[in-house]
């Protein structure tokens, strides 16, 4: 147990949370855009057919 480093301080934990939040928002945005793209591709393909 004494080998464990100290817990991250408040500023480090905030930084971690900020990065995780940023990454999560980016993933959400990518997923939404991907859905929109697949929808548009489907419409185009159906129009062609």
């Amino acid at each position: 147990m004494s080998d464990f480093p100290p817990r991250p301080g408040p500023t480090e934990a905030d930084e971690l949370r900020r990065r995780r939040r940023g990454r999560n928002w980016a993933i959400l945005l990518v997923l939404i855009l991907l859905c929109a793209l697949f929808y548009a591709i489907t419409i185009v393909k159906m129009m062609k057919a």
Partner: protein, 325 residues
């Protein structure tokens, strides 16, 4: 679960848990990368040129592709290029750590786990090929898959650390995008996209070797057998000129085969003269007896920058010529 039971048994005996050690926690903290780090994995600056040449291949191809499908095709090319960048960064993380130019990349910088980068790259690669197949056709998807495989297996894993001809042969992977763009529209690979492939193929050595001349110490430190490390500065400068002399007439072929008009051929000719002047200066650079530049490789840096502009304007001229024509 058996690991967890063993873990608890170990703790009961006062032994440290093997599942989480003290060294893992700083590692976990370092693994929390910014969005910028994930984007950096994709090598966005390299992606720009790839996307541009792919777009030109799409524009100059005969036929029509719905703008939504065209956008998707270009996006797939971009994502595939990014995937190659991520996988390359995963594989080359050991030499990236040693080279000044690359030491702060996300993996050697400790901000992204190697396994995460590999998974990211593979997911993007597979996704790009699948979406290309769905949005356009199987030929474009197949060429995209081949280009990814070529870059990852032939260049990154095989040639890069083994031969000074690494970027000559491996440069083929950067030459695929206009072929992919063309195939996305036509569903086939014809003479003209193969000529565009050839142009980028012949452009790659003078472009990369100009970079390698002034990044020579970095490549030597990392043990990468780039031409300046293996054969010296003198021979590298000579080869740069030879490849450029071979490149310039090749850029005139689209006009010879009747694919493009005077706008393109004039652009290609003027750019060719500019590139030849630029690499001539590299050849005439003041150097010592061993071929080391006494001007801090100023002509090589200038030639490298010019080579990027060269390709942009050359392919842009082709597209403008087709649109006007």
């Amino acid at each position: 679960m058996s690991d967890l039971s063993a873990n608890l048994d170990n703790q009961a005996r006062g032994e440290q848990s093997p599942l989480v050690s003290g060294s893992d926690i700083p590692h976990l903290i370092h693994a929390e990368a910014d969005v910028k780090d994930w984007i950096a994995l994709l090598k966005p600056r390299v992606m720009t040129l790839v996307v541009f040449t792919g777009l030109i291949g799409l524009i100059v191809a005969p036929g029509h592709l719905n703008p939504v499908l065209g956008f998707t095709a270009v996006l797939c090319i971009a994502i595939a290029a990014g995937a190659c960048g991520a996988i390359n960064m995963w594989y080359d993380r050991d030499i990236d750590a040693v080279m000044k130019r690359t030491a702060n990349r996300p993996i050697p910088g400790g901000r992204i786990e190697p396994g995460a980068a590999l998974g990211f790259g593979i997911t993007l690669a597979v996704g790009a090929v699948l979406v290309m197949a769905l949005a356009t056709n199987l030929v474009a998807a197949a060429v995209l898959a081949i280009s990814i495989g070529f870059y990852v297996f032939i260049y990154t894993m095989w040639l890069k650390r083994r031969t000074p001809q690494n970027i000559v042969i491996g440069g083929a992977s950067g030459a695929f995008p206009p072929v992919i763009g063309w195939a996305a529209v036509t569903g086939s690979v014809d003479l003209v996209p193969l000529v565009l492939f050839g142009i980028i193929f012949m452009w790659t050595p003078p472009h990369f070797w100009s970079l390698a001349l002034w990044a020579n110490d970095d490549y030597r430190r990392a043990g990468v057998p780039m031409l300046p490390v293996v054969a010296g500065g003198k021979e590298t400068r000579r080869q740069i000129v030879i490849y450029t002399i071979l490149l310039v007439p090749l850029t005139l072929v689209p006009w010879f085969v009747g694919f493009s008009g005077l706008t393109y051929v004039a652009t290609a000719a003027l750019l060719g003269i500019g590139f030849l002047v630029s690499v001539w200066r590299v050849l005439m650079d003041k150097q010592d007896a061993t071929g080391v530049s006494l001007t801090n490789d100023a002509p090589a840096r200038a030639a490298f920058k010019f080579s990027i502009l060269y390709l942009f304007i050359l392919f842009g001229g082709l597209a403008i010529d087709r649109v006007i024509g």
